[in-house]
């Protein structure tokens, strides 16, 4: 994702609509991209006029905006539109902690996230007024996608005028190869930790070598813990405004029963999340 040209936003006529639209327009302007809205449901005048009113109230768009009205299953329609329209980024408004009543919306958003062909931005707190993005956390997993994800994170930081970027290297506990049980193994574990940390930092440095990040303060933080979980908790503790993650490789039914990586984040969004594909 070197440049974001086309954004897609799902439109539901819920109380969140205004905030969602405002946020989408703002993001589109930041990336200088055009915006596509898709509504799953019938098209009627009431809806059109409501949408128009909101658009007038929001910032003026730099590029064009068009709405697609289509009936069908929400997941299928949105996924289809992503492919048909060559969308670069899909924006979904999520509910921060889905309680049982709102789970329906949440499960659709999850399904789309899992299957989307493009990058997905999950907003937990779309707001009418602009909230400045101050801190972005991005994963630095040892994965072929990571380089691209970090690149995107830098691109987004620049677009959002965010100055602070933390790259979190989540390291599996098993990689230590030492199980702490007494003083000796503890010492060995800590030496191993330092070594792995240096290795990981070097790996990230290599990725950053050919990325221009002059306007950014970049910090690396290594965490030993459960993959996918730790970064979410970290983002929450550090009150990051955006969490950038790799898209999962492939998720089967087992992955949902035994959640890992992205599923942890999806089950409890710590903040806004951008999943880079």
């Amino acid at each position: 994702m070197h440049k974001i040209n086309k954004l897609l936003i799902g439109i539901t006529f819920s109380p969140n609509l205004k905030a969602n639209i405002f946020e989408a327009v703002r993001i589109a302007n930041m990336f200088n991209a055009s915006l596509v809205g898709v509504h799953v449901g019938e098209k009627n005048d009431k809806k059109i006029s409501k949408l128009d009113a909101l658009l007038k109230e929001a910032d003026t768009l730099k590029k064009d905006f068009n709405v697609i009205w289509q009936e069908g299953k929400p997941v299928d329609v949105i996924l289809q539109t992503c492919t048909n329209q060559n969308i670069d980024l899909l924006i979904l408004g999520a509910v921060q902690k889905e309680n049982l009543l709102k789970h329906y919306i949440g499960s659709i958003a999850r399904k789309i996230t899992r299957k989307a062909p493009c990058s997905v931005l999950l907003l937990i707190k779309p707001s009418v007024k602009r909230v400045k993005c101050k801190h972005i956390v991005v994963n630095g997993l040892e994965d072929e996608k990571t380089s691209k994800t970090i690149r995107t994170a830098v691109l987004v930081s620049n677009a959002l005028n965010c100055k602070k970027l933390t790259i979190v290297e989540e390291i599996k506990q098993e990689e230590l190869h030492v199980i702490v049980s007494d003083d000796k193994s503890l010492r060995r574990a800590n030496i191993n930790k330092e070594r792995i940390k240096t290795r990981e930092d070097l790996r990230i440095k290599n990725i950053l070598k050919d990325i221009d990040c002059t306007n950014l303060t970049i910090k690396t933080q290594s965490i030993f813990g459960k993959r996918g979980y730790s970064i979410g908790h970290y983002a929450k503790v550090k009150r990051a405004d955006l969490l950038v993650m790799n898209a999962p490789s492939k998720l089967g039914i087992l992955d949902r029963i035994f959640p890992h990586d992205l599923e942890y984040i999806l089950s409890e969004l710590p903040t806004d999340v951008l999943i880079v594909k």
Partner: protein
């Protein structure tokens, strides 16, 4: 090189350990005999367990100063196993039980390999307390009758308890002189146990109380034998029975009942108690270790398992780590594994050399030792202690205790776990919190600025304590740790108790362990280990109980001659005038620590509204300067981005200080005034001290580090920073 030196140390410590092992063996001998008798097993089986345990665990175990042998906790389980498996035939029951012991040893080895040795961590601490008290009552109820010379008393624990007054009257009025004298020996032995610690005579204290009992009762026999004309009044049936040829008469386990449910029950019970008792003891002994070593629990459990298997095949009881004997070991300067080995060697020597003398010990004398142990386990003091922690802990404790006494150990502990869980749900009025999050990971640990920061979310109780524990165990005890519970809705008593244990261990080894994020929580009692529930209410009306952090702050406030108010309802009028709080709503200021011009406080504020609302708690320092200060903000370059509020102001460069300019971001309204304000001295001060975010207005200076609550240590640093800054200005 290093190897040689450790070997040299080992050799140089041998005399000390030899002595410690000797003293321990003096206690271990009567205890081993007594515990075996109380379990309904032949007395020699206890000694076999101690000898095998001492040898095997000292050779391959993972702990340093522990002593192993037959344990108190097992008395009740083994007695139950022997009675149920034997159907009245105690000898046959013992052979079946030996098979159960062997299999439980195998289970322990497996648990050790699976690194599940710490079974005890899954049990709430009040339930374990209740179970131990029940074991104590069990031992007490049975042995008090033996102590009065009546070995025939039978029945359930409750029946035996009811029979105690009757037994006492029987003892006084009996015409059977053998029974009366035996009871008298028992009674005197009990007095020795009780008053031993009160007699502060160096020579008297050289021999431990149980050994005094043995020595005196054997002495009594020889008095009658050699000097008195009367014959020894105590019947042979009331004396200890050891096989004639100790080395050849081993009982061999009978595996005939392996497929029966009652056998399985016995195996589970024995394994469970062995694991819990050993673990509790190992942990407790680690706290006593003068060299502050950390035991390898799983390695120790494996060794205990192997020792149990061998002991079982030789006709011995199972082997656990025992706290009382281990503390005696430490007190007598035992410093490495060899003490345990020597203890076993001395026991072997005793049993081979003094078998004839040992046969003269009356059973009531040994029973008295056990009555005392049982009383200690179930003493009313424990009840008071538990009650202080909270009413709900007392309920858990009592239910576990009663169920254990009236049914079996396994039912008891399972009920205890269940009751604890229900109590947690009732206290929180929320079951979903537990069901939704019990299996999810909830602990984050990372190292930042040389400190370990551990954050726990959702809830933290005995259900998921292992997750927190496995993280904390990876931190060397010399480091500084901050455990933050502010994302936790509920923290239970077991976790609070364990946190306190960690704090002690870290303090002992030169590190620092601090718990934060509980200051806003409601506690059920004034006890430091009481469970805590986080309140989401803004109100300040309830009377809080100070957390440990608040108490430490109180302490440093008196050290520094500052005043401290934990629940200040005082509004900080100046705060909202700072740029930082322009877009943040302050909801509460608490833990105010202040002197005339400075105050440090925890402030709770929110960012954003409605669903975007985030509640943040941070510690800040506010200074009222004596002279006027220009508006400015000072930050470490690129670290903080609060400059947003000063948009339009550029980074002000102070001449002749390129280093300062490079490292700090300074902005403000009036450049001239700021330049005049930043004297060389002040710049040097900022350069040489820790970096904080500083913002100043005419109302004072606001200083803070991270946007989170500070640990007490960090608060102190902040206070000194503020005071020095004040001086310079």
């Amino acid at each position: 090189m290093k190897k040689k030196s450790t070997f040299k140390i080992f050799v140089s410590e041998i005399p000390n350990n030899l002595f410690a092992g000797f003293v321990v063996s003096l206690i271990a001998l009567p205890l081993a005999l007594g515990l075996a008798l109380a379990s309904g097993a032949p007395p020699i089986s206890g000694v076999i367990a101690a000898i095998v345990g001492g040898t095997v665990v000292s050779l391959i175990g993972g702990s340093n100063v522990t002593i192993t042998g037959p344990g108190n906790g097992l008395v009740v389980v083994i007695l139950a196993a022997i009675t149920t498996l034997g159907n009245g035939d105690m000898h046959q029951g013992f052979l079946y039980t030996l098979a159960a012991i062997v299999i439980s040893g195998v289970l322990l080895i497996i648990l050790g390999f699976l690194r599940m040795g710490s079974l005890g961590d899954f049990f709430p601490s009040s339930a374990i307390q209740g179970m131990l008290a029940a074991i104590g009552i069990g031992i007490f109820a049975k042995q008090i009758h033996v102590m009065f010379g009546n070995t025939a008393a039978k029945g359930s624990i409750i029946e035996l308890l009811i029979k105690i007054p009757e037994g006492f009257i029987n003892f006084i009025t009996t015409t059977n002189s053998s029974m009366f004298y035996a009871g008298l020996v028992g009674f005197v032995s009990l007095l020795i146990m009780i008053f031993y610690s009160k007699i502060r005579n160096r020579y008297f204290q050289l021999i431990p109380a149980p050994m005094w009992i043995v020595v005196l009762s054997v002495g009594l026999y020889y008095y009658f034998d050699l000097f008195s004309t009367a014959s020894y009044p105590i019947d042979k049936a009331l004396l200890i029975n050891l096989p004639d040829d100790i080395l050849s008469n081993f009982a061999f386990p009978d595996f005939g009942k392996v497929y029966e449910i009652s056998f399985l029950n016995a195996v589970i019970g024995i394994t469970l108690i062995a694991s819990i008792e050993s673990l509790l003891s190992i942990k407790a002994v680690d706290k006593l270790d003068p060299l502050k070593r950390r035991s390898n629990i799983n390695k120790d459990i494996k060794a205990l398992g192997l020792a149990t298997v061998i002991s079982g095949f030789l006709g011995g009881l199972n082997v656990v780590t025992v706290i009382a004997r281990s503390s005696v070991n430490v007190n007598n300067k035992g410093s490495n594994k060899s003490a345990n080995f020597f203890h076993a060697a001395f026991l072997l020597a005793f049993i081979l050399l003094f078998a004839t003398e040992l046969r003269k010990i009356p059973l009531p004398a040994l029973a008295a030792i056990l009555v005392f142990t049982g009383y200690k386990l179930a003493s009313p003091e424990n009840l008071v202690k538990v009650f202080r922690v909270g009413r709900e802990q007392l309920i858990i404790f009592l239910i576990t205790l009663l169920i254990t006494i009236s049914t079996s150990l396994i039912t008891g502990i399972l009920t205890g776990i269940f009751v604890t869980f229900i109590a947690h749900i009732i206290i929180n009025k929320n079951a979903r919190l537990f069901f939704k999050n019990a299996l999810k990971p909830n602990v984050l640990m990372f190292k930042e600025d040389g400190k370990y920061y551990v954050s726990v979310q959702n809830f933290s109780s005995f259900l998921n304590y292992t997750k927190l524990k496995s993280k904390l165990n990876q931190i060397p005890e010399k480091e500084e740790v901050i455990v933050d519970f502010s994302l936790c809705d509920f923290v239970d008593h077991s976790v609070m108790e364990n946190m306190n244990n960690y704090a002690q261990t870290f303090a002992r080894k030169g590190g620092h362990f601090e718990v934060i994020g509980l200051d806003d929580s409601k506690s059920v009692s004034e006890h430091p280990f009481a469970l805590r529930k986080l309140l989401h209410i803004k109100a300040n009306s309830f009377q809080n109980v100070l957390t440990k952090r608040q108490k430490s702050i109180e302490k440093i406030s008196t050290e520094m001659h500052w005043t401290y108010n934990a629940f200040s309802a005082q509004e900080m009028k100046e705060l909202p005038t700072f740029g930082y709080f322009k877009k943040r709503e302050i909801s509460k200021v608490s833990n105010v620590l202040s002197n005339e011009d400075c105050s440090i406080f925890d402030v709770q504020f929110s960012e954003g509204e409605l669903i975007a609302k985030q509640v943040i708690k941070a510690t800040m320092l506010h200074i009222h300067p004596q002279k006027e200060v220009p508006d400015f903000t000072l930050d470490k370059e690129g670290l903080f981005e609060y400059i947003l509020h000063f948009t339009g102001y550029k980074d002000i460069n102070i001449e002749k200080h390129p280093d300062f300019n490079q490292r700090f971001y300074l902005a403000g309204k009036s450049e001239e005034k700021i330049r005049a304000f930043f004297t060389d001295e002040l710049i040097l001060f900022f350069e040489s001290n820790q970096h904080y975010h500083i913002s100043a207005t005419e109302n004072g200076i606001l200083i803070f580090g991270n946007e989170r609550l500070a640990s007490v240590k960090e608060m102190k640093a902040l206070a000194y920073f503020g005071m020095s800054l004040q001086k310079i200005i």
